[in-house]
Amino acid sequence: MASSVNLTVKLGSLIFKNPVLTASGTFGYASEYKNYMDLNALGGFVVKGLSVNPKKGNKPPRIVETPCGMLNAIGLQNVGVDKFIKEKLPLLEDVDAHIIANIYGTKAEEFIKLAERLEGVGRVSALEVNVSCPNVSKGGALFGKNPNEVVKLASSVKKHTSKPVIVKLTPNVDDIAVIAKAACDGGADAVSLINTITGMVIDTKTKKPFLANKTGGLSGPAVYPVGVRMVYEVYEKIKVPIIGVGGIYNSDVALQYLMAGAALIEIGTANFTKPDVTIEIIKGIKEFLKVENIKSVGDIVGIAHSV
């Protein structure tokens, strides 16, 4: 048994102490979790999607449970980038983990504005460009389904930031590898996948869609096989690191994502069920590597591709 295992992961110039991040929209601005876990234990967190101006979001109901999953249609409610920098970031001053800003705009100029606004903010390690939110009427997945838009958007953001740029992809497409390649062509330093799968629940009492937004994004354990498959498909087609996300709820599923080809992973919905699930997952990954006598977590990334 190896006495110690190396969990660190590199993404461009960034070093993560382990591959476990939290997913945007499921971990607030991180400080909310201080009571439930040691934030320093994480590789990092992706904060709630930020827009140039504060956004009110969709009308409620915004969430509904489904078998081993949930739909959400929050509609990117957020405090706006300025308030985030002024009020939320300082709460994390003493936390030793990467902070990744998830950014969202309805047009390229807004993404550029966000990148510029965050450029001087040292505490933000990287940008995750959300071209995949299914719950907004403009932007979001409308960009993310079109490879040409993705190339353009990635390259414009890239031009206005010195931070690593991660493009977050939607699973609601014919072929996610095409979109991933487009992100790389645009200069993305990494891609993260998957965002939620569009779904609908109908309230048979009212005979109407349950959510005020009608459709919502499916997340949670139910979707993990789709995410693992997509990471596996993308891994064979691109050279930049993949961040795997979608339904990870224990260390076995986390390991599946790594083996499929994810260098890092994000935990979303599972935080709701178990606020300290990320700690459990980090422990589980470590334990697995020890038992298997594998020295570094990097050694299992994409290992499921070797026959």
Binding site: G25, T26, F27, G28, E32, Y33, Y36, K48, K56, G57, K59, P60, P61, R62, I63, V64, E65, P67, C68, G69, M70, N72, I74, Q77, G220, P221, Y249, T269, N271, F272, T273, K274, P275
Partner: protein
């Protein structure tokens, strides 16, 4: 936090009282709630929010109604089983100042948090109050104090609890209420008419219970959204955009 079930018994039609061992590690105030994990495994996926129906050194009590899959499974839990609780969460009824005439008004399972509230008012503050509870039928009644109304007239006042108390309300009253949205909406209208004060505990679909998912919001009169789990579940009724509910 995994805590042991001490008792889980039926106390009225489809209504159960769940007593959980209190480790005495925290305090809880009336109106606060817990997010309860129903099973050890991830089905049902989300925790279920339940108000605190009573709270002592010995146990935490939750009174719940079986309405769906989660509560049905909960009803099967037995003494000695463990339940994972997150909480206490949210803002309760807060400080209740003497001076106003206090009415506790509950509808159906919404009476549950008012039990703990009534005990606290009595024991902690020595504040007196009147309590009114509305149910559909006699066999749904699980409270042993206050006056009751039933829709079918099988016990107490025949009709709606709001109608029962309407004539007694004025600007010197403070109503502390919890119940079905439609009842609260009517009550809010009455309180508005009578210029009476009211604090109200709201329900909403919750995923996290701790303010991060933004799933549980309710529209407020300043055209904003507030989170029921953090800014609530108890709100001053004037904050709420009742039209939107």
């Amino acid at each position: 936090m995994k805590l042991e079930v001490c008792e889980n018994k039926r106390i009225a039609k489809n209504t159960f009282s769940l007593k959980i061992d209190n480790p005495a590690l925290f305090d809880a105030s009336p109106g606060q709630f817990f997010m309860v994990k129903i099973n050890d495994f991830d089905y049902p996926l989300l925790r279920r929010p339940f108000s605190i129906a009573d709270f002592s050194d010995r146990y935490i009590e939750i009174i719940y109604k079986v309405v769906g899959e989660g509560t049905k499974i909960l009803a099967g839990k037995q003494k000695g089983d463990f339940l994972d609780l997150l909480g206490p969460l949210g803002n309760g009824f807060g400080d209740i100042k003497k001076g106003k005439k206090i009415f506790l008004v509950g509808g159906g399972i919404g009476a549950a948090p008012l039990i703990y509230l009534s005990n606290t008012l009595k024991s902690m503050y020595g504040i007196s109050y009147e309590a009114y509870f509305g149910f559909n039928t006699k066999d749904e009644i699980y409270v042993d104090f206050g006056k009751t109304a039933t829709m079918d007239g099988s016990s107490g006042y025949a009709g709606n609890v709001v109608d029962m108390i309407e004539s007694q309300l004025d600007e010197n009253c403070l109503v502390l209420a919890c119940g079905p949205t439609l009842m609260l909406k009517r009550l809010a209208y009455v309180c508005y008419q009578k210029k009476c004060s009211m604090k109200v505990s709201l329900e909403s679909r919750m995923a996290c219970g701790i303010g991060v998912c933004l799933g549980c919001v309710v529209e407020t009169t300043d055209k904003d959204f507030k989170r029921v789990c953090v800014e609530g579940p108890v709100f001053d009724y004037r904050e709420i955009e009742w039209q939107a509910l």
